[in-house]
Symmetry: C2
Subunit: 148 residues, 2 copies
DNA sequence: GTATATGCAAAGGTTTTGCACAGCC
DNA sequence: GGCTGTGCAAAACCTTTGCATATAC
């Protein structure tokens, strides 16, 4: 049920080489930083972290690398409340539920995501990508808090 | 079925007065601009339009006014591909479907939105606000184009 | 050696903030 | 008259772009 989970940095380097992309120390650091991140991370935050361990890496390099990794199908970005955030592309059906009050995050299961997509698909044949935007709302505990 | 549609600028002025907010020419212009907009509009675009007909209005005033109108429940913002966009809070169940390829926009019906919300609600009791983020995907014609 | 990636610098754009002044009530 | 809102200026961010240099292959 989950076989796409174990993507290593080595796999990515291989994929880049196969595409004729060059493996630079900067790219290695950026890839490593994203790999070590569970969930999502903003470009600016990646830039900050990479710079703290490899000073001199320019933000523009980070942005260009992220765009390249996305067009290579290795990363994807989603829109959360505070802006764009990157995550491993392998995390299929990764639908973000974000509580508007406490910012807690949950994920929809792959099965649930499919049901949703099917329901929306009936509307004019639109095929949704539910992973691209988060879904805002109220988590259970915040609902209870507000109802009391 | 649609009674919340006909909110006038006068209604808003009244609501503000009731809350003890002051009615300035700038606020009137900003409210008028949002009211005349069908669908959504970005803060920067509001600033541009308001300035073009009332030069001297500062962007910071626009941002402060929009935040005020949102906390008063008169406006709400949603996240589309290019960032935050404001719309009348009255537009209930206004779920944006945006085509990732051609940027065409459709809306989900109130009924469809309810079905979706119910489905998501089963997940840990999360109560979604599907109006807050757009839903990305491919419209029917772009699917057909890509499949050929 | 050559094509590609990086650093640098600059610019562009959006949004926020502090403060003195203006103006709504 | 007093309190609130506005303009102004500055700054904080984030992100993009052109160009010369460095470097992976």
């Amino acid at each position: 049920m989950q076989a796409t989970e174990s993507v290593t940095a080595a796999d990515i380097v291989g994929a880049l080489r196969r595409r004729g992309m060059r493996i630079t120390p900067q790219r290695q650091a950026i890839v490593a930083e994203v790999m070590r991140t569970r969930g999502h991370i903003s470009p600016a935050e990646i830039a900050r972290r990479v710079q703290s361990q490899m000073p001199g890496v320019n933000p523009s390099t980070v942005y260009r690398t992220l765009a390249m990794l996305e067009s290579a199908g290795i990363l994807a970005h989603a829109h959360l409340e505070q802006g764009a955030e990157y995550h491993h592309a392998g995390e299929e059906g990764h639908v973000h539920l974000v509580c508007a009050r406490c910012a807690a995050e949950e994920d929809l299961s792959v099965q649930e995501a499919r049901s949703l997509a099917r329901l929306i698909g009936r509307h004019h044949g639109f095929r949704p990508d539910l992973t691209h935007f988060a879904i805002s709302g109220l988590c259970k505990s915040c609902q209870e808090f507000l109802d009391s």
